[in-house]
Every structure is written in C-alpha cells, then in structure tokens.
C-alpha cells in the first residue's frame, strides 16, 4: 500500500446545506414545470395580451326555453318543445385575440348536451357550432383557435343545451379568454385557492374537477417533485456524493416540500371554513345553531311539534317527500319513538297505526285531512280518525284516535 500523501478529503456538505440544495432544486423544478405548462397551453401572447372579456347573466338572453334572471345567474327552468335551450349574447371582439370561450354554468345533468354557437362579420349569415364538454355538471372551456370558422370579429355567441331536465340550470355568464401566460397562471391559482366549503359529500372525499380545477394540484406537484427528485439525484451523483452527502435526506426534503404546499392550501381552506362556521354558529345555544342551519325552518316546526307532544316515548310517524326532510325531522324528534321510511315516500298502511300515535307531515303530497269529519287519509288508503294538533304551511301534526 502506498504511503504517499492521500488526497485531501473533499469538504463534506452539512445536512442544512443539503436541505437548502434540495429546496432550491424543488423551486427550480417548479419554475421549469410552470414554463413548460405555459408553453403548451398559452396560445396568446405571454405579455401585453388584451384582458379577458366577461359577460354576466344580465347580458344573456334566452332565445329558446324558459329562463328567469336571478341575483347573479340566469336560471333556466325548462327547455322548449324541441328540448332545446338557446342562451345568446351580443359581442364584438377579434377572434384571433380570444381563442378560448368559457361558459359559467352549473347543474347540467349528464343527459343534456351542450354546444357553442357563434357568427362573425366575415359571414354573418352563417352560424357555426362547436360541441362543449360537460364534467361534473359544469361546462368546460372550449379552445376554438383551431376552428377555421373562428375568424374576423365575433358578433354573437350562444350556448345551446339539448335534452330534457327538471332541476334548474344556472348560467352565470361567459368569458372570452386571450390565454395569455399571466391569465393561465391566474386561472390556475384562482382554481387552486378557491374556497371549498363543506358540502353533503365532503365526508366521502373531494371529487376531482368539482372546483373547476383543470390542472389538479396534487398531480401537478407530483410532477414537480418527480422532476426535482431526478434533478437532485443527478446533482448528487455528479457533485454531492463525493462530498459525503446523503441522497435520502434531499429526496425527503423535496417530497415534504410538495406535501407542505398541498397542506398549506388545505389549511387555508380549513381556516376560511372555520371562520365561516364561527360566523354562522358562534356564541349560539345548540337550539339557536339549529335554527341558523340549512334546515332551520324544519327545526322550528319540529320544536313546535315537540311542545304539543306528550313526554317521550310516544310513537311518531314522519311523512315527507324529500328523504332529507324525513331523516332530519326524525333526528330532531328523538327520543320520541320515531318511524319513517328511509328509502321512499311511502307511509305504512293505516293498520300499522295505533290509537295515540302521532303523524308529522312535512311537505308531503297526497295527505288529506277532512277538518269537519276529522278524518285523515293518504295515497288512496282507508281513512283514519285523527285530530289536527298543529297546522303550518305545508306541515302538520296529527294524533290518531
């Protein structure tokens, strides 16, 4: 073995420095991925692009179908006889400046098709059509830059809905987008930071795309982290390994950076949600909180019902057309011995009722009460003798006699 002087050991890289390098690589990867995304999607000029054009519900006209103007949206309640709805608006913009049209509409059922119509000053007698994609009840923005008819000055746009529907469709407006780099970044950050309040389905998990995210943040950050991981591994092999650096801690920093970014967004949403919750319910008794809740009217009615009922556990039947009201009314009635049909609007046959049972009716069609004869009947069943104890609009409490 040679006893000549060994080469001086390379200066070791401290853990803090490794973390800093990994964090820098992550940031560089973030910038690189953003640049690639913009290069692929920004059709308009990156700088000095015209600003986006926005039309609200007040600018919209229903040429076909039935619609009503609400506070911030045009509520389309029914199609015409041909199952069509046409919502039109007059415009005047240069097609080449605005390659994407985005309709802000929600509540579109899966069986309803959507299309964009337009005409321009180049051939004003012709109307052009482009199919639109509907996801999670919303219309996705459409890129019409590659359409040969998207030329000249666009004089009018229209949204066509084809199909039958029973629930109203809300159309809040439309946008013509220049698809500049700045606008794309703003769109993405707006979608990512959009407040998502709790909904009935929150407990089952968020649904991708529901918040209008065209670029899901977890997938985007996973790509950023993967690229950063590869870059860091290359850097480690090239420079850091020989200086005693560990690759594991650097990769962990990159993974955690992506995780923490996602978690920061989640925490921001939670804070806004907690603020809204405290604003609605803070400082109230539990009864006041229920009165302030979405079913406050039902809770108020059930409170009146409870005042008329004997002490528990009397038997109480609940009838309502909507499953939500049946379940909620029953919940507010416990510890009374409550019965309701969880899966249908049906009431049990009259033979299931006993003397001194009670029936709570809340927005339920098909229940009749003859005040003169004090007879209660529903759905063509044989009538029962009953006493009306409480009568509110669309709601009642009866005692079986």
């Amino acid at each position: 073995m040679s006893e000549s002087a060994a080469p001086a050991p390379p200066t070791s890289v401290s853990p803090a420095r490794q973390c800093a390098v990994a964090a820098t690589v992550f940031l560089a990867s973030l910038v690189a991925c953003a640049a690639v995304y913009l290069a692929l999607n920004a059709h308009g000029p990156w700088f000095a692009a015209p600003s986006a054009l926005r039309w609200t519900a007040r600018n919209l006209t229903a040429n076909r179908g039935t619609a009503q103007l609400a506070t911030d949206s045009l509520m389309v309640t029914a199609p015409d006889a041909a199952h069509s709805v046409v919502i039109a608006l007059g415009t005047s913009f240069l097609a080449r400046d605005y390659p994407v049209i985005a309709w802000d509409a929600s509540g579109i059922p899966p069986n309803v098709g959507a299309a964009l119509l337009w005409y321009s000053d180049i051939s004003s007698s012709r109307v052009f059509r482009r199919a639109l994609t509907v996801e999670a009840g919303r219309i996705m923005p459409v890129d019409v830059a590659d359409d040969r008819a998207w030329l000249g000055r666009i004089r009018g746009l229209a949204l066509v809905l084809q199909g039958s529907f029973s629930q109203p469709i809300a159309v809040r407006g439309a946008m013509a987008k220049p698809m500049s780099a700045l606008e794309l970044l703003q769109d993405a950050s707006r979608a990512w930071l959009k407040f998502e309040p709790w909904s009935g389905s929150s407990i089952n998990g968020l649904v991708p795309g529901l918040a209008g995210e065209s670029l899901p943040l977890p997938a985007a950050l996973a790509v950023v982290a993967a690229l950063a991981g590869l870059a860091y591994a290359g850097l480690w092999r090239w420079k850091l390994r020989s200086r005693g650096a560990a690759i594991g801690s650097g990769l962990a920093v990159i993974f955690m950076a992506a995780w923490v970014l996602l978690d920061a967004r989640w925490q921001w949403n939670l804070l806004r949600q907690a603020d809204a919750t405290v604003a609605l319910y803070g400082g109230k008794s539990w009864q006041e909180r229920h009165l302030a809740a979405e079913d406050g009217a039902l809770f108020a009615f059930i409170s009146e019902v409870r005042a008329k009922l004997p002490p528990p556990p009397a038997r109480v039947f609940v009838a309502a057309d909507l499953a939500y009201f049946r379940h909620r009314a029953a919940y507010h009635l416990y510890p009374y011995d409550v019965y309701y049909d969880p899966g249908s609007t049906a009431l049990p046959p009259p033979s299931a009722f006993r003397k001194d049972d009670y029936l709570v009716v809340y927005r339920r069609q098909g229940v009749q009460y003859d005040t003169a004869q004090q007879r209660l009947s529903w759905d063509g069943e044989a009538p029962l003798n009953a006493e009306l104890l409480l009568n509110a609009s669309g709601a009642a409490l009866l005692r079986i006699r």
């Binding site: 929150s202 943040l217 801690s249 939670l270």
Partner: protein, 480 residues
Amino acid sequence: MDAALLILSVALPWCAGCGLLLAAGWPGRGAPGAGDRPAGAVALVLGYGYFAGLLVLTVWMRLLSVAGVGFGRAAVVAPLVALGALAAYLVRWRRASRALALAASIVRPPFAGWRRLVWLLLLGWLALRFATLAVEAGTRPLYPWDAWSQWATKARVWYELGRIIPFVPADAWLAGAPGVYFDASPANPATVPLVQAWTAIMLGRWDDSATNWPWPFMLVALALAMYGMLRDRGVLPLGSLIGAYLVASLPLLDTHAALAGYADLPLCATYSLAALALYRWASGREGRDGVLAVLLALACPAIELSGSAWALTLVPGAIAAFEPRRGPRIAAWILGIVAVALVGLATGTLSIPDGILQGGASQPSAAWRSLLDSFLLADNWHLLWYGTILLAIVGARRLVAPPLAQLAIVALSGLAWVLVVAMFGNDLASWFPEARVADRAALITAPVLIFLGVLVWRELTAREAAPAPPSPASALTVDA
C-alpha cells in the same frame, strides 16, 4: 362550566386508558437495545390511552345497561376515576416530573439549528391544525348525513332514556315490538353512540356540537400513537414527528375529525393501533403487545359493521407474525387467491350470488378510473398514493423481508379490501353518484401505510446514514 365539563369528558377516559396501560406494564421493552425505557413510551401510552379509555368506558356503559343501572354521571364516571387514580398512583411524582421534563423537551428539543427550527414549525403547524379542527367540530351542529341518521339517533335516545334501548329493523318496529326504536341503520354497533352519549352525560344536556368533541382528540391521540410507535421502532425524533404530521395532515382524515359523528375515524385509529401493536409483538414477542393487538382488533367490529372485515385483514399479518418462516408464504398464498378472485370478478370470469356484494362489478374500468382519479387527482390524500407507489417500487426487497414483511402483509390485505369496496361499492354510492366510498375505506388503512412508508424510508437510507460521524446535534434524541 360547560368548558370544564367538556374537558373532563375528554380527560377522564384518557387518564383511565393511560392508567390501564400503565397498570398492565405497557409498553414495556421497546426496540432491541432500547433498554427498560423505550423511546416514545409517553407518547405511546398517551396515544393508545385515549382509545383504551373510550373502549373501557363504552364496555362499562354496556354493563350498566345490562345491570339495569341508569346512565347517571356518578355511575358512569366511577370506573374512570378509579382507573385515573390508578394512573396517578403508578406515575407518582418522580415519574410525573420525568414526564414533565419530557414534555418540556418536546417544546425545547435537545437539538439545534435547522432541525430545531423544523421541529418547532411542525409542532406549531400541528397545533394550528388541531385547533382549527376542534373549532369546526365544536361549533357546527352534527353535519354529515349518516352521523345524524344512523349514529347520533341512538346516542340521543340512550342519553335521554338513560340506558341502551335496542334499535330494530322496520318490520320489527311496525309489528309493534315493545320498547324498541328504529332509525336508518338499526344494526350499527353501539360504541360510537355511547361515546356521544357519554359527552352529553358529562355536559348534563343534549348538544350535538358538544358531542362532536371527542373526534378531534381522536386525531390527536392517533398522531401521538404514531409518533410514539415510530420512536419505539428507533426512528429519530424529527422523523417520527414527520410521520405523525403526515397522518394528521391527510385531508380526508381531517375532514372526519372536523365533520364529526362518523365511525370511520375511530375505526381507522383502532385498526391502525391494532396493526402497530401486532407489528410490535412480532418484533419483540412481548405478550402485552399481543393482547393489546387482539383486544383492539376485536374492538373493530364493535365500532362499525365493516370492522369485522377490517379485523380479518389483520389475520394474514398475524399468521406471518406467528410463523416467521412459513407465515409470509401462507399469507402470500391467501392474498394471491384473493387477488385472482378479484381479477376474476372484475373481468366477469367469476360471479357471485346477488346480495353478497351489492352493486356488482358491472363497470370495473369505471371503478378503477374513479379510484385512480380520487387517489391521484383529488386532494384527499396529498401525495400519499404517489409516495406509496414509489416506495413500494424502490423498497420492494425490504418489504418482503423481515422485519417489514409482516406489516407489509397487513397493508396489502387492507388495500385488497379497499379494492373490493372500490369495485363493488355499496348503497351509498348508488344514492350519491359522486360519493367516494373507496376513499373512506382507504382512510382506514392510510396510517398503516404512512407508518410502513417511514420505516421503509428509514431502511433505505440507513446504510448511507450509518457511516456518517454523528454530529453533536444529530446524536441527541428525545425520549418523548
């Protein structure tokens, strides 16, 4: 006054559970070389203690009901106070002062520089998270559908009437059976409603915001148990805290803590703690770990109907633990048969009688697509599934060998059950097309996946970490 009673409603079962564990001499020895005082023992006792206390409480309430004793505050509180006093006696002042010193070292960790900064930032972030969730849960009236149609219905009746009253199916109720009640899911187990009734008993009135109170604390206890078990397995303090943070920051888990009232979070915690106790038993053959794992596994069916299926997913891991040489092979065979059956069902080669699995795998590709969308695109899991896939590939060799093989088998069994749920759905999915039931099933196994992921990472990086000379800062560990 209300605040004090609510704090007591959390503290009493917590102390009782800790007392029970300390009386049993748990956690005993830790990882090989840890000596008599395993690292993370305090966190382990605190984390497991809350769930042990809640389970003891609900068993006691069942016994009271069977004995015909009403749910008076004194009757329910008595054993908790006794166990709490036992804990106080066992801890005594010397050990208490040691615990206080350990608590102080959590806030002021004995390492400096960037590690200390990250430690404190993580602690602050976790505190903010738990506080946000507690505000949400404690202010909002019971919100999610099943919580007020299936669970709190029983809690309200049992609290108001002071005993457990049976809930029966509609036909039995309509037939006029005396002294019975009905709700949307009469077969649900009693544990969760009893926990809610307990809070109301302590408060002295029904308040369905206050009865949400235990849920955020379940998340706190789960994070403590995760930290303690990682420390116990020899992971350094910062790595263990990161593991606990990864669990506590999962959005779907947070949602279940904030929108309280479902059985998913208690089941997730009980199942995870059972799996980790089983893993600890497999590593050290400490009898108390085995007993704890069995008791927690048996508690799963008492929390949710699907708990029995989840408890069964621990069986392949238990086989692997009992028979370290042949066990993994037997477990691999079981899982292989399950995988073949799933593929057969998914492709339509196999069929099953109606009613066993509702919904049917009529569109397996849609089920897969939905699962992938939810796991990889929606922010229910942050990067859990990306990390899991990556670590499964990179750490495959370590996952099939001791000491991780046994836990990997448990995780794989859990994921197999998630796939069953994803492919066949349930009634909820047919009611709400956007519902992600598979997400809720995956929630149960997520903490085990994170625990396993941290251990795989530790194994993968152990070789490169080993030769490095320990710096004064990194050599210090916190025995918390």
